[in-house]
């Protein structure tokens, strides 16, 4: 398989306007991935499937990731005048990266016998703009997994033929795999409660439980 940089430049030539980014990976596997913008996600995926060199004809896995709002800290060296003398001082700057939801596709090629290529798409935010293009028209295998992402993370896939909840029931309101999901408080007695469970146990058994 070509390197990700080559694939990126070829996509940019083939799909005009597509914004592609290579997401680094610091883990031992070092498996990097392609981040595609929402507007061109479908066209890029179609090109990846149909390009004679790449021919990614098999989506083996589709999953979702929830990235909540994160506070990033970075140390910046700033020149300041302290007591009349110019000095370099390290300052800690805090920035808030707004959260988003992400869909991750693992693509393989049966024909060319290569892969995986990791394709990512991100929503604009986690609240009201949670739409992504569905890739089910390209890979039928994505249908149930996109439904599962819709169910558990709340990403709405445009163009999905049958977008319904799949694991939870239809009237269910929440998305349980999101980081800020609050589960119903149906605590039951535990013989050795600890940490969070101990806190909940104290609420349910205020007097009787001494630990």
């Amino acid at each position: 398989m070509e390197s990700l940089e080559q694939i990126k430049s070829r996509i940019e030539a083939a799909v005009p306007g597509a914004r592609i980014e290579i997401v680094p990976n610091d883990s031992p596997s070092g498996q990097r991935s392609l981040l595609v913008d929402r507007e061109h996600g479908f066209a890029v995926a179609k090109w990846l499937r149909d390009d004679p060199e790449l021919r990614f004809d098999y989506a083996s896995n589709v999953t979702g990731v929830d990235w909540p709002d994160a506070e990033l800290t970075e140390k910046v060296k700033v020149k300041k005048v302290v007591d009349g003398v110019e000095q370099e001082v390290e300052e800690v700057r805090k920035t808030v990266r707004p959260g988003y939801l992400e869909a991750v596709y693992h693509l393989y090629s049966m024909e060319r016998k290569h892969g995986p290529l990791v394709l990512r798409m991100r929503t604009a935010n986690r609240a009201d703009q949670v739409r992504l293009p569905s890739l089910t028209p390209l890979w039928r295998a994505a249908e149930l997994q996109e439904r599962e992402i819709y169910d558990l993370y709340g990403i709405v896939f445009d163009g999905h033929p049958d977008l319904r909840r799949i694991l939870m029931w239809d009237g269910f309101k929440d998305h349980p795999m999101r980081k800020d999901y609050v589960e119903p408080d149906d605590f039951e007695y535990e013989p050795t409660p600890h940490d969070e469970v101990l806190e909940r146990a104290r609420r349910h058994y205020p007097a009787g439980l001494k630990q």
Partner: protein, 202 residues
């Protein structure tokens, strides 16, 4: 009847019994379970009914495909909140007298999924359970032990009086309310007439 007199009569070739004993003897040796499995415990339940453990020795090999013909519900496996109303509905459709064995850690308490959002923390929140067997999954021997425990329980039941079983008491409920799917959880999350939270005494 006096045990000594009975054994004395038996030595003389006279067999004496009571209607209650005969009735319970017949019932306890023909418990037909509902062919109903939810997760990996069901595999052990199948093994228990096969040749190696041979549940047929206890008169319980006839796994019925319909709740109308079954006496015993073996809740074998994880009861998810999505499945719980269907389990209660199946139990309601069984005819009296009916019994429940909660098989495995999940069915008795939620097991390894107890802290999860999608698993019911024990089927005894909605229906009365006669025998609980722990294990993940319990071995077929444990299921056979549960059967024998249930047989002892049936054998000890009285036909009249305060201790009579539910099916002989016209005031006792035979059906239990089926929970509804709510927006965040099952409604109600438990049936307070069947299940009360444990009281911690330390």
């Amino acid at each position: 009847m006096d045990e000594g007199l009975r054994s004395e009569l038996q030595k003389q070739g006279v067999f004496v019994t009571t209607l209650e004993e005969l009735y319970n003897w017949g019932r306890k040796n023909s418990i037909w379970p509902l062919g109903f499995g939810l997760a990996c415990c069901a595999i052990e339940m199948m093994a228990a009914s096969m040749a190696r453990w041979d549940l047929a020795r206890f008169g319980a090999e006839v796994f019925r495909p319909s709740p109308r013909q079954a006496d015993l519900m073996i809740v074998a496996g994880t009861v998810t909140k999505k499945m719980a109303p269907q389990v209660v509905r199946l139990y309601n459709q069984m005819s009296e007298p009916k019994y429940v064995i909660a098989m495995g850690a999940c069915a008795i308490s939620g097991g390894p999924f107890k802290q999860g959002y999608n698993v019911l923390k024990g089927i005894d929140r909605y229906i009365p359970v006669d025998v609980h067997i722990p294990g993940c999954p319990p071995r077929p021997e444990a299921l056979i032990h549960a059967f024998m425990t249930l047989q002892e329980k049936i054998d000890a039941q009285q036909l009249k009086g305060e201790g009579r079983p539910r099916h002989l008491d016209p005031d006792a409920p035979s059906e239990f309310p089926i929970p509804e799917y709510g927006e965040h959880d099952l409604e109600p999350p438990k049936n307070p007439e069947v299940w009360r939270p444990a009281v911690v005494v330390r």
